[in-house]
């Protein structure tokens, strides 16, 4: 399954690259991309546990980008 959302307040390119790296380290995520230019995060993960995967991803985002707002 694939889901994407806008991460508002993502204002440093290096942070975006780091976040992408961290997201890709999450179990169950096949591919995560953080597009700095469009402020868009796309997560592609296993179907069976996708809700669980999204939860983990959002935890990571909150941890590393506490000031950013997630908007669907």
């Amino acid at each position: 399954m694939k889901k994407s959302f806008v991460l508002e307040g993502l204002d440093c390119a290096n942070c975006a690259a780091k976040l992408e790296d961290k997201l890709n380290g999450i179990k169950g995520i096949n591919e995560a991309t953080v597009n700095f230019m469009t402020s868009k995060v796309t997560i592609e993960g296993e179907d069976e546990e996708f809700d669980e995967v999204m939860k983990r991803a959002i935890d990571i985002i909150k941890k590393y980008e506490p000031d950013a707002q997630i908007k669907y």
């Binding site: 290096n14 230019m37 402020s39 868009k40 590393y64």
Partner: protein, 605 residues
Amino acid sequence: MIFRIVLTVLFWIAANFIEIDLVKYIIFILAYLIIGYDVLSRAIKNILRGEVFDENFLMSIATIGAIALKEFPEAIAVMLFYQIGETFQDYAVNNSRKSITKLMEIRPDFANIKVNDKLEKVNPENVKIGDIIFVKPGEKVPLDGIVRSGNSMLDTKTITGESVPRSIEPGCEILSGTINLNSLLEIEVTKGFEDSTVNKILELVENATSKKSKSEKFITKFAKFYTPIVVFLALAIAVIPPLVIGGKWVKWISRALIFLVISCPCALVISIPLSFFGGIGGASKKGILIKGSNYLEALSNTKVTVFDKTGTLTKGVFKIQKINSIGLEKDELLKFAAYTENYSNHPIALSIKQEFKEEIDEENIKDITEISGKGIKAVVFGKEVLVGNEKLLNEENIKFEKTDDVGTIVYIAIDKKFSGYILISDELKENTKETIDELKKSSIKTVMLTGDRNRIAEKIKNDLGIDEFYSELLPEDKLNLLEEIIKNKGKNEKVAFIGDGVNDSPVLARADIGIAMGGIGADSAIEASDIVIMTDEINKIIEAIRISKKTLKIVRQNIIFAIGIKIAILILGALGLANMWMAVFADVGVSIIAILNAMRALKIN
């Protein structure tokens, strides 16, 4: 922010007039806190998360270090310029984000549908296939469909890059994202929003940057190692020389602090993807959709272009090139041929009828026999007419002269007497010759593949000056030949295949760069290809290559410039020849310049 900057500067100036050291220090520290408190607080938060190589943290260490060495003006200056630089950088990023959103402005916001005889605006996503929508003058066409009523002019620039408006009438296909210029159009929707042209373009451009180019991968790797290495070097510079050669601790620590300021690879991390995004965005404005940064990069290394013939180099439409009549007028001959072919749907019959133009009186056609693979026999205006290839005339024992013309030849005999022939062939697209010439000028080899006969292929090869051609190929032969060409190229050379997506999807997919022409409408071509040219203009290939070369040039400039300046200042810093100010420039100054340079990629004339 401006207020904070001004306040800091005032405090800074004031501190210089104060004689008492303690008061002076307090005022300096106040100035430092005013400008840098948010950086410090972010740094603390990051350490708590175990994130050591964070920009905020490194800036904080560098400035606190300077304060500890009683170099107050340096500490304030670093913070001040870092903040000013960041502000500029945000501004530049926002600006480029805006230019990019502008590209995305083709997204339609609403569709008009009729509810109880009144037009209502609804979300295009909620419109179903078969629904009727209305587009007023000046509005964007929200969904793909067929015009049911209304004649108007259509601005297709955002979709195809074509600047001349197109006229549109009932029965015409209409694409979402185009703009209706003159009068109300009633459109029957043929595709849901998900599959509509405009949505596909948007998805394509937005997702393009997720397919990373080699340069981007290099930068990501570089960034991962760069910061830790610079930080450890800083540590080494602070500790080793004083211990080994017994220099002053203060001197070496201040040199180490310079390293910390330069340790963020931001300029590269931000400007390289931005350049690619700019190039892809600029190309999409011209009706060239590039599906990934990697393809944009590969395109600049194209060494061989392989063209499909029909539908790519030629229009794929048969047209009468010549009528050679014997013993009667050309128009007469055409008339007999058109009447005889009246009921046939063969492409050749269609082109004859199209040329004839006049209405056909079917009363005058009798006893039609279609002789499969040979032609047609019919009685037209009371005369027995044969229209077909040489086999037909041979079979009927009619004497005729063979011609040397290249193309499809249709022989005609009236009442058992040879009366001439019609030459039909496919037409070359406009700008084909110029495109081939241009490719050759850039020392790119050109190859043509076709299922057509050898003589026809050879004529096109000679007319256009193509380097190599292979004819009479089956679709699977094309794939094998392409494999062969790919096998024989150099290591960093790329092979591009250009086709129209009809019958050649596997070849498009196999090529290093698959370019589909006239991508609109042919879904399989869009799927299989890496680059889609929205219009039928073959010279867009030159434009695409130009854009890719320009983008890659900017990317190389930025990589060399950013890494070069950083390394230069690092060396100068280690030797004690650089100060904090230069270090701040190497950090934020370089970022801003690199971003501005990257934005040039978006500007394509």
